[in-house]
Structure formats: structure tokens, C-alpha cells
């Protein structure tokens, strides 16, 4: 299993015999002879589907318990951001494509949903599908041009994007100028406000589960291995037959489409969309949710989004000083644990040497972490 913390610091982890292979080996009793049986690679990977189910069920239970309260709305908003950050795990964390365009595509999803539903009478499902298609096409066109640029140019150019798209939205009467568009439909109506929130929340959580499953599936696939090689060293990627152009474009499109879905979720939860969703502040918030929680970890990205969204709206001390807190948190993370809280947790758990900690970690790592691997010699049973 991966140890991104050690890797990013360029240190050599001398206790390198980690991961499910070693864990399974140590928990299997007497050392298994390294014959073909121990090398059997499990054909089906249950993790992505398990993640989708777990997130949907768990999220559904939590939202039902919160029963349409303000906290429930906060959590649902957090879920909306989580859909975006999960896409960013693939794009920024795993593939190391530094693009700052997610808030813009979140805006595409949010405004697209708002316009289609209030001006053209689309239903929630129809507007969701339409917005996905719109974001896919837009990101394909933009990506075809943008991903040709070298990394620093891509980062710089996408830094400019929120600036000018925000102005466009704020100045457009058709998009409602600064007040935006309201009257957006919730995903699933109920007899009253609370149950509508809960039901729409469940759909939102389902979408999050699907997003997480999708991203995990990609990262744990052969294409994911290619992305990993390419992110580590582009020349290396080329030399093993990876099409850099194709992968860069695909990652950009996938990240953008997920951002748009997040925008649709946000707007359906809150009932309205304003230009703030596409501002630089929004992009900054997303980046922080990703980096602080763990840029290569899907579960980290989800929890990070929900927790930070909660903190931003909670006690007044935190929300007024959120800028300073976020700045300090970012610096601490960058210096101490570039893979965020999730990386720190994985590392701390990894230091314990007893069997229980090892198998717990490989269980949680296998469930939710980015980067599969070490499939050989999994549970011998």
C-alpha cells in the first residue's frame, strides 16, 4: 500500500514492508511460501462499489437522523463540495494536474441547473443529465486547448478563470446578476420542508457515493496505474506507452464534470445560485478542503469538505477568522504532512507494529485510500 507521506518527502522509509501483502503475510501465521498461490491476484475489486454503498447508506442514515435541521443543510452543502473535492483527488492529488478550474465548473453545474429548471422547466433529473453533458462538452473543448500547456502555464491560466467568469456571471442580467437565480428545485420533494431536505440529501449522498466509486475505480484500474506513473515522471509515462495528451485531457474532463455535479447538488440543496459559487474564494475553499484533509485520499476529501463547511458556518469565532485558520492549517499541512490529515492518520497507524493495527490500517486503506496496489497475497482465504 502506498506511503505517500514518505514519498513526498523523498525519504526512504526503511520500514517499507507495509501494505496488505505484508499485512496478510504477517497475519497468515507461518510465512507463506512465495509460490503461485500467494500471487493470485483477485480479479474483482470490491472496494469502489463498497465505497459507494457505504457512503450512500451512512450518509443517508446521518441525514435522516438530522431530520432537515440546519445542521442537515450544512452537511448537505458539505456533500456538494465533497463531490467536487473527490474529483480533485483524481485531478490534483493523484494525477498532479494543477488546474484551478473546479469552482468555474461548479458554477456551470449550479447555473446550468438554475437556468434549465427555472427558465426551461427541466426536472431535477433532466437538468442533472443536461448539466453533465454540458460540462463534459465544455471541458472537452477547453481541455483540448488548455491541457497542451505545460504545468505552470495551466496553473496560471486557470487562476485567471474564476476572475473573468465571476465578472461575466455577476454582470449578466439573464443569470440574475448579483442576486443570482432562485427557485431551484430540490432533488426529491417531500410533504414538508424537513422531509424534502432529507430526501434531497439522500439523493445528494447517492451522487457523492457514485462519484467516490467512480474515482476509486479509475485510480485502482490499469489507467490509474498509468496516471500514477505519469504524475510521478512524465518522461517515464511516455516511455511505457502512456499517452500524456489523452490522459491529461481525460483527467481534466472528469474533474470538471464532477465539479459540475457538485454544483448541481449545491444548488438543489440551497434552492438558489449566486455568483459566489464561481468566485476565487470558492476555489480557495475547495483547495483547502482538499489539501488539509488529504489530497490523495477520497475519504479525506469527503470528510474535509464536510468538516470545513461545518466550521465555516459554525461558531462565529471560527467563521470570522476562517481565513487565518485556513492559512495556518495549509502551511502546517504542507510542511508537516503534505498528504494531509489522511496521510498523517495512515502514517500514525502504520507505526504500530502489532497485528491489529496493521490489519485495521490495511482494511481502511483498502477501503478508501487512493492508489490501490499490492493485490498479491491478499487474504489467503
Amino acid at each position: 500500500m502506498s506511503e505517500p507521506a514518505a514519498a513526498d518527502r523523498g525519504t526512504i522509509d526503511s520500514s517499507a514492508a507495509t501494505g496488505p501483502a505484508a499485512a496478510a503475510a504477517s497475519s497468515a501465521g507461518p510465512p507463506a511460501a512465495p509460490g503461485p498461490a500467494a500471487r493470485h491476484v483477485r480479479r474483482r475489486d470490491p472496494v469502489p462499489l463498497a465505497a459507494t454503498v457505504a457512503i450512500t447508506v451512512l450518509g443517508g442514515l446521518v441525514l435522516t437522523a438530522l431530520n432537515g435541521s440546519y445542521l442537515g443543510l450544512t452537511v448537505t452543502t458539505g456533500v456538494a463540495y465533497a463531490v467536487v473535492t473527490v474529483g480533485m483527488v483524481l485531478q490534483l492529488g493523484y494525477s498532479r494536474q494543477l488546474a484551478f478550474s473546479q469552482s468555474v465548473f461548479m458554477g456551470v453545474g449550479a447555473y446550468g441547473t438554475g437556468v434549465l429548471e427555472t427558465k426551461y422547466g427541466f426536472s431535477s433529473l433532466e437538468s442533472l443529465l443536461a448539466v453533465i453533458a454540458l460540462a463534459a462538452v465544455a471541458s472537452l473543448l477547453m481541455g483540448a486547448v488548455v491541457t497542451r500547456a505545460p504545468g505552470l502555464a495551466l496553473a496560471l491560466a486557470t487562476l485567471l478563470l474564476p476572475l473573468f467568469v465571476y465578472q461575466l456571471a455577476a454582470d449578466s442580467g439573464w443569470l440574475g446578476s448579483f442576486s443570482g437565480i432562485d427557485g431551484v428545485l430540490p432533488f426529491w420533494n417531500g410533504p414538508d420542508y424537513e422531509s424534502t431536505l432529507v430526501r434531497s440529501g439522500i439523493i445528494s449522498v447517492l451522487l457523492l457515493g457514485l462519484a467516490a466509486g467512480l474515482v476509486l475505480r479509475v485510480m485502482r484500474s490499469g489507467v490509474g496505474l498509468q496516471l500514477m506513473a505519469m504524475a510521478s515522471d512524465e518522461r517515464l509515462g511516455e516511455s511505457i506507452g502512456v499517452s500524456l495528451r489523452q490522459r491529461r485531457l481525460e483527467v481534466f474532463v472528469l474533474g470538471s464534470v464532477l465539479a459540475a455535479v457538485g454544483g448541481a447538488v449545491l444548488v438543489s440543496a440551497q434552492g438558489l445560485v449566486t455568483p459566489d459559487v464561481l468566485s476565487e474564494t470558492s476555489e480557495i475553499t475547495l483547495l483547502l478542503m482538499l489539501f488539509v484533509a488529504g489530497r490523495k485520499s477520497v475519504i479525506g476529501a469527503i470528510l474535509g469538505a464536510i468538516v470545513i463547511e461545518y466550521l465555516t458556518t459554525s461558531t462565529s469565532f471560527i467563521s470570522t477568522n476562517i481565513g487565518i485558520i485556513e492559512g495556518i492549517a495549509l502551511l502546517v499541512i504542507l510542511l508537516v504532512e503534505p498528504d494531509g490529515v489522511a496521510g498523517a492518520v495512515a502514517r500514525l497507524l502504520g507505526r504500530r507494529t502489532d497485528r491489529w493495527a496493521d490489519s485495521l490500517r490495511s482494511w481502511s486503506a483498502g477501503r478508501f485510500r487512493a492508489g490501490g496496489g499490492g493485490d498479491g497475497a491478499r487474504n489467503a482465504a
Binding site: G323, I324, G327
Partner: protein, 294 residues
Amino acid sequence: MSEFLNLLAAGLTSGAIYGIFGACLAVWFRVCNVLNLAVGDFAMLGAIGTARLVQTDHLPFAAGVLVVLAAVGLIAWIFDRIVLHIAFDRGSGAHGIVGVFFYTFGLSLILEGAARAVFGTDPYSAPAIWPGPALAIADFHVQRAGVLVFALAVVSGLILWAYLRFTVSGRAASACGESVTGSRIVGIDSALFRRRIFIVTAALAALFGIVESPLTGFTYLSGPTISLIGVVAAGFAAFRKPGRAVVAGLAIGVAEAMLGGYVSTTYNDVLLYAVLFGIIILRPEVLGLSAEPA
């Protein structure tokens, strides 16, 4: 004709800020391969700090300026000694393209948050250094502060260019950015250069904030947008050449003013950003890039 000249004057004024920020960014990037995204926030601190000290606390202007510049220098020193030292000298932090942006981005967040907590959300203007009405030559009007900003930008740009080009110290500084190991081997203390240039460019940005704020006023949020344009201006100078960055900044400022005057006042920024976006994406060679930084 006079409208053109007035727009030109306004453009050169705002362009001077972009340009000098671009130059500060380019010089520092050349030395240590990090982009100072907090440069606009240092300007903001200069402007607001001076305004506060002089107007509210009634310090004499010169004293206020000195205090503010010293404070900004101190903040820069602390940031380098703690954060950048751990990140780059001990080699333990996140590196690569993340390191280029995110350390100073974190600083920027902290500075904005602190400014908001201490100074509130109102706009501030430092007192004018050269008070008086706009200068007029026939129909051509230009603000005195604008003249000062432009002159200061040209002078600072020249000094930075000359420093890098002609002094031994300047060439040593450049060497740091090109090869960390190589420069260490010949005895150049790259950490020291990084720190000093950071402090100098921070103080310079603060000075510009002080000089420029009578024209526009600064709030705690004024920093990021000018930082970003400064980054673009530095980009057009391949993140290396302060002189070219100043020229690029001036060009951007003038383009912004012309677009505002002749095309549309509401959408001039939108068009400007769209044009810049287009140039960066379609012609990344302008940024002197062919591959990602190591």
C-alpha cells in the same frame, strides 16, 4: 486625443503597480523558484497600516511609513525563517509545483485574515505623499500620485535590473535559482539570498501600496487581484527579468484602461483576463516555459 492621453495616464499608473509587482515576483522566483502570491497583501498592509498609524494614531507621516515598512520586513523575515526554512532548507515540505504556489498562498490567507481582524473591512487610503490636485497640461490630466507611482516603478525596475545584471551579489542571487546544489558548492548561501530578496520585495510592495493608495483605496481584500496580475506580468517576463516584467505590467495596465475607455467599462476586466488567459494557454512560450519546473 485628450481622452486617449488620459486613459494612457491611468493605464500607466495601474500598470506601474502590476509591473513592479511582476518585477518583484520575477526577481524572487529567479532566486528561489517560488512565486510570492502574497505580494499584493504586503502592499495592502503598507497602505492600510500607514493610513491607520497616521490618521488614527496620529504618527507623523515619515515615522508611520518607517514603522510600517519595518513591520512588513519583519513579517517577511519571520515567514522565511519559519516556513520557507523548514520547507526548503530542511527539505521536508511539499515540493514541486505545489511548493511554487501554496506556501505564499497560505501566507496570503493569513495576512488577509489578520488585516480583517485588526483593520476591519473598510477601505483605507494612506495620505498622499505629493498632495495637490491633478496635474493638467491642456486637456491632459494626471494624478500626482500616479506620477509618483510610475516614477517609482521605473526607478525600482531599473535598480532591480541593474542589481541582477551588474553586481556580483545579483549574479550570485540568480545562480541560486538556477542550481541550488551548484550554488551551494561554490559557497553561495541560497537561503540567505532567498530571505533577503523576499524582505526587500515585500517592503518594496508595501511602499507601492503606500504611494498608490491615495488613488484607489485598499481594503483587506485588495491584495489577491493585483498579485495575480503581477504574476501574469512576471510570467510574460519568463519569471526572470524584472525589466521586462515592468514593461509587461505597464502594457497590461494600458490595455485594461483602453479596453475600459473604448470598448466597455463593465466588461473591460473580463476581456482583459480573457485575453491574458488566451495568451498564456495558446502561447506558453511567452512564459519561457517548455516543461514543468523540476
